[in-house]
Amino acid sequence: AELLKFVESENAKAKLQSSIHLFTDLCFKKCVPSITTGSVSQAESTCMQLANCVDRFLDTNIFVVNKISQSMQK
């Protein structure tokens, strides 16, 4: 049972890491259109620093789940 719990928690960790890789890739593509030497742009900063990109993606996901649930109940 101890081992099982350990394996389960490791699986959860792996899943979490895989989501983080997915979101980082998404946010990097969205927030950093090109590599400029020097300081970070304002738009880039708002998009990435505050992690708005992840938060809005999760909002989008929740929006879509609700939308699909509604259209299935029709």
């Binding site: 708002t46 809005r56 909002d59 989008t60 879509v64 699909i68």
Partner: protein, 72 residues
């Protein structure tokens, strides 16, 4: 049981595809919350995606049935 798993994985895949495509098209510069314009776009975009999924499903099933020579 198996049927339910397929139905579930189908819905999960649809949700994931809509989220990715509509986030890409609608949320150009993510702000501190979804704006009214964002939400309107997501709504429109989801509708269009579901509509596209229905059209493609019907068409592909029809083609698979009528034309067994097709490879994909």
């Amino acid at each position: 049981q198996i049927l339910q798993e397929i139905a579930l994985s189908n819905a999960t895949e649809l949700i994931s595809k809509i989220s990715n495509n509509c986030y890409e098209k609608c949320i150009l510069t993510p702000g501190s919350s979804l704006s009214a314009a964002d939400t309107a776009c997501l709504d429109q975009c989801s509708e269009k995606y579901i509509q596209a999924w229905n059209i493609i499903s019907r068409r592909y099933l029809a083609r698979v049935q009528s034309d067994s020579k097709g490879l994909a």
